[in-house]
Symmetry: C2
Subunit: 311 residues, 2 copies
């Protein structure tokens, strides 16, 4: 077993991401000691029951004391508050990172509080499921996923390399880009898909001509795919929408423009336009499978839903 | 083993649905003889290599001769052509059904050609994957899925019961509704989700600020879910769009109206509206899981994508 990378790691927030980190840190022996800090006493108690760490506290400053690495895993709208609370207790030379889905806003909220001599390296592991809370985490969550850093101009290369090594040992591949570009990329690959999924599930839920029970009963014909993203954590996604507003609005405008074009092709019976689009999109999935970011099995390899015994 | 339900079943079209039927008919011993008819010689040759039937022909009329049950599994836009070709060869007392995703249009296309004394019972098994062609089929495709019949007013109850028994033995649950209602239900649970998926994948493919390789690389953060539906058969979906136009346009209008509302909430920073919607949609997925139409495992139970060996 290799030596731990850090003496003490502090996890601020212990939901899906934080608790997955706790598990992989333990499994890969990445720290001597794990401190867990979260605002909610119930969540903290649950983390303790799950034996996710060594130190448990609802006091953020207490949590980060003497930590060499601090990972903030909270909804992006809470980043500023957390930074303000932990700032006075941060150890000189410590690395502070986060896992937020928006980077421009997180930097604007956190950077002003980070003391000189502490390395603030904004990060974003592109990993998750529709589940949330400390029970939802698992050590393999980051396996073969990308972790994107958006380093500030004065970032210390050694600190960045150490944090990169940490994420590599968690199973991730590393990329860096500037925060503004990150927020545009995520707006299309993650934020727009979630918003569209939330929207279509809302539309179906509001219909009068088709009942809710019909929507649920017949959902396997396509609709249920969208319900996974639309079951994601509401607080997290409210904050993403509020904190990556401009990039999201731009992608929404493009989406709506394209949809108007498609709608017109349907209205006027332009089969060639439809066929062309439907052919082009098929190739995109093929590329994703070839890039190792999706499995090739039909229907996501979903196991058949359990059935009542056959007569 | 129970006695076969039918002496001879003719399968017109041998793609994902037709070839799944061939496999389950064999496994469950539902017919003495399976005839396969398809326009394309290549597809027919492949069906023969896969040993999906007993009789193989590119002549539709030849295929249905002496058949007790004829199942038409072709893109809905070809239904009328098929009906015209098979009509003269249909046996008195035979049952003719289809598997098309739109019912009003299929009935309008096929019913005029069906001779007196032949039972035409439009049907739609709500089952499929994003794969197509004779290799894509599997015997379990219909297991625990719904098969919806939209019987005509003069449908013979005994023929309907016999066809229902056939689908039950294929693993399906049976429902009946009128064609117009079917087309509305499917517009929201299936057609709109596919169209939205095609559209968002098209939007992502067209961007300049974010490259295609970035979209592919980071797709696991949400986008890749949509690529599954958007990889469905282009001919089938072109025809669905053209043949359920009014119901689809209505659902698209509602979707766009809701999206404008959501977009406005994002623009004006109305977090409460966003949180309310995102909470409500979570409950919909829970209901689908409880209804046995989806698995509860995170991320559709996707097995982690294979990774390069860890160092």
């Amino acid at each position: 077993m290799t030596e731990p990378l850090f003496d003490k790691i502090a996890l601020i927030g212990i939901g899906l991401i934080g608790s997955s980190l706790a598990r992989v840190i333990r499994r890969e022996n990445l720290a001597h000691e794990i401190a867990i800090a979260t605002r909610s006493q119930d969540t903290l108690d649950r983390a303790r029951e799950l034996e996710l760490g060594d130190i448990y506290t609802t006091d953020m400053a207490e949590g980060v004391r003497d930590a060499d690495l601090v990972i903030v895993s909270v909804p992006v709208g809470s980043s500023g508050d957390v930074a303000e609370q932990i700032a006075p207790a941060l150890k000189a030379g410590a690395i502070v990172t986060d896992v937020g889905s928006t980077k421009g806003s997180v930097i604007a909220q956190m950077a002003p509080f980070i003391p000189h001599g502490v390395h603030f390296i904004p990060g974003h592991p592109l990993a998750g499921t529709e589940k949330s809370g400390p029970d939802a985490g698992f050590a393999d969550l980051f396996q073969n996923r990308w972790c994107i850093f958006t380093p500030l101009p004065d970032t210390d290369p050694q600190a960045l390399e150490k944090l990169s090594e940490f994420w590599r040992r968690c199973g991730s591949n590393i990329d860096t880009m500037d925060p503004e570009h990150h927020d545009k990329v995520l707006a299309i690959v993650s934020h727009l898909p979630h918003i569209i999924a939330y929207n279509i599930v809302g539309t179906a839920d509001d219909l009068q001509t088709v009942t809710k029970s019909e929507v649920i009963k017949y959902s396997a014909s396509g609709f249920r795919d969208f319900t996974r993203l639309a079951a994601s954590d509401p607080t997290m996604w409210r904050d993403v929408c509020l904190h990556n507003r401009d990039a999201i609005l731009e992608m929404l405008a493009r989406f709506s423009e394209d949809l108007a074009f498609l709608q017109r092709a349907i209205r006027w019976g332009d089969g060639d336009k439809l066929f062309d689009l439907f052919t082009r999109t098929r190739a995109v999935r093929r590329s994703i499978i070839e890039a190792g970011q999706e499995i090739d099995a039909p229907d996501f390899g979903r196991k058949s839903v359990e059935t009542t015994p056959k007569k």
